[in-house]
Amino acid sequence: MATLPKRIIKETERLVSDPVPGITASPSEENLRYFEVTIDGPSLSPYANGKFQLELYLPDDYPMCAPKVRFLTKIYHPNIDKLGRICLDVLKDNWSPALQIRTILLSIQALLGAPNPDDPLANDVAQDWKQDEQKAIQVAKEWTEKYAVQK
């Protein structure tokens, strides 16, 4: 923990100096491997207008293994479960060290725009999604309104 790898320092610097639109990530003061993240819901999705809070942690082996990312804001999505865990290939087996915090957060934002109920993590949500997509989208909108829109 003592020394932070150059890669993490540089990534953090670049995130600050050249931020991604709709995404913020700032390292915590006590632990520079821990990031507080917000992602704006994509405009044409049920999550539009929502600002979702996430936490991101860079494990010891980063960048050789994927960062750990979790939604803190409640969200109704077939690939995100009650605990905020995310089912996304690039966070698991398809992680590549050439990916970065920036790219991984963009992937998560894209996942919000394209839910995939065929590879679910939250089974109940996925079921709803498959049975009645319109209704599921409606619920997702309500949840977004309730939990993710700042008043």
Partner: protein, 529 residues
């Protein structure tokens, strides 16, 4: 390695079949067994492990003599393993007199020290100029730096980032599941012993690296004060400037390296050797996309078949473009050929002066001869590819000159097969418990539901977290399961007692061995021949 794990399987399966005394199967049960897919696994594993029943037994059965012979063979094997391990870590020490084109044969230490690539193979690739050597990276680079500034920075860099690479050594006592076990099996002591040994070895290696770094620094100091007797293995300023004048950033570690980086075979992206040796296959895993993700046990039976039978291992894919079977090629720099394999030493390198370097003056003009030597030497062996002829298209993984991940980690097949046999062993143990339970309470209502639940709880039993009840078992079969659990607890107790006995026996044997140590050393050649 394989031998050791096989041994483990032996004692396990043998305890089950021999002392647990499975009664001869009744007709009803055998009918069931042949229908299910499990017994096949069981039989295969008894073929693998059963033949050794007589030779190793589960302790106590054998006479002292054959036992000590066995132990002797085992300790031989252990010695060999230790030797290989030591050689591996010795190879990870950066030694400045082992240099190739201004780089080294061991990594700088950007990543932690638990490097598991084959060091011998990689050293040879570097010596043959088939992989970029491990260069000392620059943490930052700014084009506005003057050559003098660059030299000052370069000369301050150590050979190896000891603090980062060996940081694990200090923060030991990591949360180890072993320490939470109530009963410590003999394997626990074995593992602790191994861990301690590795730690000592790493400490030793760390100290050696420290000494080497110290030597490097003092020699460098000597070089700068003492013009006459320069150490020829230290890179000359010319070489440093030639290498680091226009460095490239490795897209993975974000550090700056001399521009002669390895290039991915598929998408022509650069990667430093230190990152390259970090890339590996994923651990063996069950194949994807076969209902393995449903996680619900209403599809239990199908799941069992898919999950338990095969594990696969896929070649590492390119970190940049995800093409399968990642590999790189390397073009050595056309104007540098120093260090090992070359007649020119790193300290004797003098570069051709080009127009834009006019502010830099070589400080020893009397080395002109070597300079010419340097310039002419690139025409020798492997450096036929000049940077002018740089590759523009992708290459196949088996094309000549391509170094793949499997080449630097040739042990992947062994890993896969040991993972597979481990799985098989687990399954066999589960089946053994399962079968013995069935036989014991041979009540007739063998519907599929109960069967599945039993397998489940016996699997959890075999992984020694014993008598914890599964949440979904709280229905009409509660009493039945209770007896199953009791049986499993008994079994676990019995196994741990056997383990403990075996451990004691080993300790005794160890002590015995210490006394007649000289004696056994004399015997050594006889036994090995």
């Amino acid at each position: 390695m394989g031998n050791v794990s096989a041994k483990e399987s032996r004692s396990r399966s043998s305890t089950f079949s021999s002392s647990n005394g499975i009664p001869p199967p009744s007709g009803d049960i055998t009918g069931f067994i042949t229908r299910s897919s499990i017994p096949r696994r069981y039989t295969t594993s008894t073929i693998g492990g059963g033949n050794s029943l007589g030779s190793s037994g589960s302790g106590g059965l054998l006479t002292g003599h054959s036992n000590s012979l066995l132990d002797f063979k085992k300790s031989k094997r252990q010695e060999e393993k230790d030797r290989i391990q030591e050689a591996h870590y010795q190879n990870l020490i950066v030694r400045y007199n082992e240099n190739v084109d201004g780089g080294y044969l061991a990594p700088y230490g950007t990543y932690k020290s638990n490097l598991d690539y084959n060091t011998e193979v990689v050293r040879n690739f570097i010596l043959n100029r088939q992989l970029s050597p491990f260069y000392t990276p620059l943490q930052d680079f700014d084009e506005s730096w003057t050559q003098n500034e660059l030299l000052i920075i370069l000369n301050q860099l150590p050979l190896h980032a000891i603090d980062v690479a060996y940081s694990d050594l200090d923060e030991d006592a990591e949360d180890d599941i072993d320490n939470h076990k109530i009963h410590k099996s003999s394997n626990y002591y074995k593992r602790q012993e191994q861990k301690q040994k590795l730690k000592n070895l790493l400490l030793k290696i760390k100290n050696l690296q420290k000494e080497e770094d110290l030597r490097y620094l003092t020699d460098k100091q000597n070089n700068s004060t003492n013009e006459d007797s320069k150490n020829p293995h230290l890179s000359s300023n010319d070489l440093l400037l030639q290498l680091y004048g226009k460095p490239l950033e490795c897209p993975i570690c974000f550090l700056y390296y001399p521009a002669n980086l390895n290039i991915s075979r598929c998408c022509l992206q650069p990667i430093c050797t230190e990152c390259f040796v970090q890339i590996k296959r994923l651990d063996p895993h069950p194949p994807h996309d076969e209902s393995s993700n449903t996680t619900n046990d209403n599809e239990g039976e199908e799941k069992e078949k898919v999950v338990l039978h095969t594990l696969i291992s896929e070649a590492a894919s390119c970190p940049y473009c995800a093409s399968p079977d990642f590999g790189v090629t390397y073009d050595p720099p056309f104007n540098i050929f120093t260090g090992m394999g070359s007649k020119t030493k790193a300290g004797d390198y003098i570069r051709l002066k080009s127009k834009d370097d006019s502010d830099y003056e070589s400080d020893d003009d009397d080395n002109d001869n070597e300079a010419r030597n340097t310039i002419s030497s690139p025409s020798t062996p492997s450096s036929t590819t000049s940077s002018a002829a740089r590759r523009r298209s992708s290459l196949a993984a088996n094309a000549p000159g391509v170094i793949t991940i499997d080449m630097i980690r040739p042990d992947w097949e062994q890993r896969l097969s040991s993972a597979r046999s481990k799985l098989e062993r687990k399954a066999a143990t589960a089946t053994a418990i399962h079968a013995s339970n069935l036989l014991l309470n041979g009540d007739e209502d063998n519907n599929g539901n109960r069967r599945r639940r039993q397998t489940e709880s016996s699997v959890s039993g075999s992984s020694t977290n014993g008598s914890r009840r599964r949440g979904n078992s709280a229905n009409s079969h509660l009493i039945h399961l209770q007896t199953v659990e009791d049986r499993m607890l008994e079994e676990a107790l019995r196994l741990s007692i056997i383990d403990e006995e075996e451990r004691k026996r080993k300790v005794e044997a160890e002590e015995k061995k210490k006394k007649p140590l000289q004696h056994s050393q004399q015997q050594e050649p006889q036994v090995t021949s």
